[in-house]
């Protein structure tokens, strides 16, 4: 009986070790791509200023919404950064539609992360998801803007 219990404990221990060593191995295989993304983000942070982002917008609502989605897709970082940039853009006179599209695309579309997403989750999945998210960022902006107009 005791021997049985001990062998059960041993096999459970082996399973835990195997589970975690497989996790570390899988993680290490993705690590070079993750490092590549982090260093690319560092370049973005250092080379692209907020003034450069603001100067892109034209004042035309339709054009600016597409531009907002495009910029949000290219730039990356914590969502909090997109709120701050978006808030400042709004203060600078950029339309709420464009700013909402920008915030929507910031987290959901990732041009910088695309190589990693494609390498890990598959090219077909990564491209389809990012394209759909890009389109949805504009739809999200329109829906939010119209609802806000009706509600307030």
């Amino acid at each position: 009986m005791e021997i049985n219990m001990e062998s059960k404990k041993k096999s459970r221990g082996n399973r835990i070790v195997a589970s975690f060593s497989s996790a570390i191995k899988n993680f290490c295989s993705i690590l070079p791509v993750l490092l590549g993304i982090v260093f690319l983000l560092g370049l973005f942070k250092s080379y692209i200023s907020q003034q450069m982002i603001t100067s892109v917008f034209t004042g035309e609502v339709f054009k600016d919404t597409i531009l907002g989605s495009t910029l949000g897709s290219i730039l990356a970082g914590s969502p909090i950064t997109s709120y701050i940039i978006g808030g400042e853009l709004l203060k600078d006179g950029v339309s709420l539609l464009a700013v909402t599209a920008f915030i929507g695309a910031w987290v959901t579309v990732g041009i910088v992360q695309l190589p990693a997403e494609a390498a890990v989750l598959g090219k077909k999945f990564a491209i389809t998801r990012n394209l759909l998210s890009f389109l949805f960022s504009m739809i999200l902006a329109i829906m939010t803007f119209v609802t806000l107009e009706v509600v307030t």
Partner: protein, 180 residues
């Protein structure tokens, strides 16, 4: 050279090609503007320090999921048979997950290999846009009404995107079967 060795070299090349590209970019930009490039390295190191705890958490979760989540369990809660429950779980986990989006890829890959639906992966990733701890800052800039409406629409769109991806994949698969 045998086929297996060639395969191994190809895999290593694929794994490191993106990182090598970024390193080359750094070297080129260093000659263009050394100060800014140095700042970029500094910013990158800061990002690594910030995401390190989340990376450790992800490795831990991967280990736990390897131990507990057998394909049968994953397919019950997040697989083809998961139903409405699966969408709720994906939305909930997406909102709760912390850190940058890319640190979650390894765990999602693991779950995908165990049978997680592609639509649920997309829904999980979309909901990473809804971050409860950051909402006060969003409210400060845009107001409560905007934040409530945007958050609600984001959750609805996340499910729509998941469903749409599954439909697109289904159509593409059927087309490729018909072509064969």
């Amino acid at each position: 050279m045998n086929v297996e060795k060639q395969k191994k070299i190809k895999t290593i090349y694929r794994r490191f090609s993106f990182l090598i590209f970024v390193i080359i970019l750094y070297v080129v930009l260093f000659f263009f503007d050394a100060g800014k490039t140095y700042n970029a390295i500094h910013a990158s190191v800061n990002i690594i320090i910030q995401i390190l705890p989340v990376l450790v958490l992800v490795i831990f979760l991967m280990g736990v999921s390897n131990y507990f989540l057998k394909p049968k369990i994953v397919s019950k809660y997040l697989g083809a048979e998961s139903g409405v429950k699966g969408w709720f779980i994906a939305v909930f986990l997406g909102i709760l997950s912390h850190g940058s989006i890319y640190v979650w890829y390894p765990l999602l890959k693991e779950l995908q290999d165990h049978g997680m639906r592609v639509g649920l992966i997309a829904t999980f990733l979309y909901n990473r846009a809804v971050k409860i701890p950051f909402l006060p800052i969003m409210i400060y800039y845009f107001g409560v009404a905007f934040v409530v409406i945007l958050t609600l629409y984001m959750i609805i769109i996340s499910v729509a995107e998941g469903k749409l991806i599954e439909t697109i994949f289904y159509i593409l698969e059927r087309r490729s079967v018909n072509n064969v």
